[in-house]
């Protein structure tokens, strides 16, 4: 049975498959594992961050700090490893701890001080960006045997494609994210809070710890995305990844998650990321289009999906009325 609440996801999947087929009829090469491998690698850091954003939006919140946290992470790691000679794994652990604590603090302010997530994470955005500038305003290159090893690691896929460590990391994060959302109590509580916080509270959902947990998770995943970004670019730069949170939000919404919370799937966000990547790849293949077309197409898709979601709400209301009729 197809739930109306999964309809946006199914639509997104349909659009993705259709768009892919169109691309392939024009450029058969786009079906190659090489292109697909690159698609995954190029979008790994965005995908990881978008998983965190999915949880935040499912709970009815928003996290605007993601792009800044990614920049902070990359600068922090680059300086620690490049300038101070700290072992990369130690730097990774330290930065993940920092970003998780940072996220928890934002969650706690949202919950216990009653400040709207938009405001708290906006402040967090400035704070993290400022901290990144404080560490360094230069682009800091990074090189270390461990980092080189991770960057160089991949599985060869039939057809010449490479499944890189970054791509695998993203896929694992998506799988774990989907698991947490669908199969754990924490996940169920997030949907409950996104549906109606007051009702959830009266039904015994631990709203406080869950809220803190959601933003902690988003912080952690932003940190992990920052590490992925550092590995991807081999450098840290405090001016990088401006507005990545908006790309993440776009992926989540295109993936069928309601901005008001309570409805959506982690898998949808994956498709949302892939759609964005597909458009970029198409532009690269085409060679004549400006890369700004990506933004335009994403903008159009966002509009389409918001209208679609309205339509679905309208449709399910009508079905409700009809099923009540049958009850009588």
């Amino acid at each position: 049975m197809i739930h109306t609440r999964n309809l946006p996801f199914i639509t997104t999947l349909g659009i993705f498959i259709l768009a892919y087929i169109l691309c392939v009829t024009q450029y058969p090469n786009m079906l190659s594992t090489r292109v697909i491998g690159n698609l995954l690698t190029d979008n790994a850091f965005l995908g990881i961050a978008a998983v965190g954003m999915t949880f935040v939006i499912l709970s009815g919140g928003i996290d605007l700090s993601i792009g800044s946290v990614i920049a902070f992470t990359s600068v922090f790691v680059a300086v620690m490893v490049g300038s101070l000679g700290v072992h990369p794994l130690v730097a990774f652990a330290a930065v993940l701890a920092i970003s998780t604590i940072f996220g928890s603090a934002m969650g706690a302010m949202i919950r216990y001080l009653g400040i709207p997530p938009f405001v708290v994470t906006l402040a967090g955005m400035f704070l993290a960006r400022g901290a990144a500038y404080l560490i360094s305003t230069e682009s800091v290159p990074i090189s270390h045997p461990v980092i080189d090893a991770i960057q160089g690691f991949y599985f060869r896929v039939p057809g010449g494609g490479r499944l890189t460590a970054l791509a695998m990391l993203m896929l694992i994060v998506f799988l774990l994210g989907a698991f947490v959302a669908a199969r754990t109590r924490f996940g169920a509580n997030i949907y409950a809070i996104g549906g109606n916080q007051q009702s959830a509270e009266l039904m015994g959902v631990p709203v406080g710890p869950t809220t803190v947990g959601i933003y902690a998770l988003s912080g952690f995943l932003s940190g992990l995305a920052g590490i992925a970004y550092t590995l991807y670019t081999s450098s840290g730069y405090s001016l990088a990844t401006v507005g990545v949170e908006l790309d993440a939000i776009a992926a989540v919404v295109i993936g069928g998650t309601l901005l008001t919370g309570g409805v959506g799937l982690v898998a949808g966000t994956f498709i949302g990321i892939m759609i964005q990547g597909l458009i970029q790849t198409y532009i690269v293949f085409d060679g004549t289009l400006s890369s700004w077309w990506t933004k335009i197409v994403i903008g159009i898709l966002l509009f389409v999906f918001i209208v679609l979601q309205r339509g679905i709400i309208w449709y399910s209301d009508r079905r409700l009325a009809e099923s009540r009729l049958k009850e009588v």
Binding site: S199, E201, L202, G262, L325, V328
Partner: protein, 506 residues
């Protein structure tokens, strides 16, 4: 031994909001295998007491013992763990989740640390079967009617609690058949030794199901009594602190003339909408009260939606003062002088953070247009007069309406529409959740408004209420207007018969 203690014992409970006492030294004792009714006027403190027992509010003073052990539930989850489960007046579960997810939220069966969806589904089915519900537990909660959702909420709470079950106005949106189903369940749970607290404004139900009753008034305990030897009138005067003036309406000679003669300025002919209500004819004259009766889901509210332009008719015409009128939206209906007080006031009506005065003035302001603001003095006077006539408590115009008790919020919404002085006012369940004293006040007010020439359409599940106020009653069944009773024909028996004969025929 635990048996020597009452199941739940509260002593000297006190609670104040912003320095104003909502509860003052209240004692409450609940035994095992007992159904205990908690009664009192709107704002008496019933919901507040319940919320203290179930961990929503913390008490300022007093002690609470469960099975003889001192407890202080810090949260709802905490109370649930102790064995106290609740269905709140305001809660409607979560519409974005499936039935099964709602039933097992927070206590999902797990396998290897994962939520076991198959098991959850199986248990949900089994659980609901005990309540006579055979529904798709994988469907979203929002796809079921309010009545079914209420039963699901009760099933969840019963299943959760184990020791104490608290129900705050659980029957407000159930029809008589569903109420009976619920009571059967409650009686069975009583046999199992559960202690059940039930808040309701329906005295019939209190006598039908409860063993004992505790009455609160203005936050204080009036007394706890066995219902077996408590006459109804005495119970009422315990609640109100005075005798209730009789509330049934004397049929005035001449009522019949109102309904049968005279041109009806508002008429609906062949008005209907496919899949909603079959085409009907309805004419309303000034000063007339038309009652609409029928079972839940028979199309009562849908009739109102059509008349008020919330739903658009796809057949028939509406005529006002001899001219065809288009009722394509609530705005156009308001433009024709219509008013509508919907059934789900909680969600459709109140603006929680606005003051009582603002909430009352809202519809009047809208009908005047925003360019002509109501002066604050006028608003104040308006609010004060309705607070007085409907006995809204606390009698403050400035309080945010969300801080009022459920019943008092309803009164304020009713006031909102009365303030616009509409020529036709449609009331869907006007007295639901309203205490027996205010109930009588509202019926009196309806009569006064008619005497002033307003027309009213009153939808109600309470037949006593309809027979008390209506000059004419339309009976609905299966989304069709099946009978019309006029004047002396308007009796509870006749209405029941009209409903029953149709239901059997169908």
């Amino acid at each position: 031994m635990a048996e020597s203690y009452p199941l739940l014992e509260a002593r000297g409970i006190g609670k104040a909001f912003l320095g104003i006492a909502a509860l003052d030294g209240v004692d409450f004792t609940l035994g095992r295998g007992e159904i205990h009714a908690l009664l009192g006027e709107n704002g008496a403190g019933k919901s507040t007491l319940i919320k203290i027992l179930t961990g929503v509010y913390s008490r300022d003073r007093g002690t609470l013992q469960l099975d003889g052990a001192e407890v202080t539930p810090a949260s709802v989850a905490d109370a649930q763990k102790l064995g106290i489960g609740t269905v709140y007046q305001e809660v409607n579960l979560l519409e974005n989740l499936t039935v099964a997810e709602n039933l097992y939220l927070g206590r999902q069966p797990t396998r290897f640390g994962m939520i076991d969806r198959r098991e959850m589904r199986r248990r949900s089915k089994a659980l609901l079967t005990r309540y006579g519900l055979d529904i798709d537990v994988d469907a979203l909660l929002s796809s079921y009617s309010v009545a079914i959702r209420q039963i699901i909420a009760i099933a969840r709470a019963v299943d959760l609690s184990g020791k104490v079950l608290v129900l705050d106005e659980p029957t407000a949106s159930l029809d008589s058949h569903e109420v009976e189903t619920l009571f059967t369940v409650l009686r069975r749970l009583r046999e199992d030794g559960l202690g059940i607290v039930i808040i309701t404004h329906f005295l019939n139900q209190v006598y039908a199901v409860a063993d004992r009753v505790t009455v609160l008034r203005n936050g204080r305990l009036v007394g706890t009594r066995d219902l077996a030897n408590l006459p109804r009138l005495e119970l009422i005067s315990m609640m109100l602190g005075r005798e209730l003036q009789h509330m049934t309406r004397e049929r005035q000679p001449g009522d019949e003339t109102i309904t049968t003669t005279g041109e009806a300025p508002i008429r609906f002919e062949g008005y209907g909408k496919r899949g909603s209500v079959a085409p009907f004819d309805l004419a309303v004259r000034p000063g007339e009260v038309v009652g609409i009766a029928g079972l839940l889901g028979s199309g009562r509210s849908e009739t109102a939606f059509l008349m008020f332009g919330i739903d658009r008719a796809d057949s028939g015409t509406a005529t006002i003062d001899g001219k065809p009128a288009s009722l394509s939206s609530p705005e156009s209906a308001i433009g024709h002088g219509f008013g509508f007080c919907p059934e789900e006031r909680k969600t459709d009506g109140i603006i929680g953070d606005f003051s009582v005065a603002d909430n009352i003035a809202l519809a009047l302001q809208a009908s005047r247009g925003w360019a002509k603001p109501i002066s604050s003095r006028e608003k104040q006077a308006l609010a004060e007069s309705f607070i007085k006539s409907l006995d809204i408590r606390p009698a403050s115009t400035e309080k945010p309406i969300k801080l009022l008790s459920g019943g008092n919020q309803q009164k304020a919404i009713l006031a909102r529409w009365l303030a616009t002085e509409p020529r036709l006012l449609i009331l869907d369940e006007p007295t639901r959740g309203i205490d027996i004293g205010a109930h009588a006040e509202i019926l009196k007010m309806i009569e006064r408004l008619c005497a002033e020439g307003m027309s009213l359409v009153v939808i109600s599940s309470e037949l006593d209420e309809l027979t008390a106020v209506a000059h004419r009653v339309i009976v609905l069944s299966d989304r069709r207007h099946v009978a019309e009773l006029v004047g002396k024909q308007v009796t509870t028996d006749n209405i029941l018969q009209a409903i029953a004969s149709r239901t059997e025929a169908a």
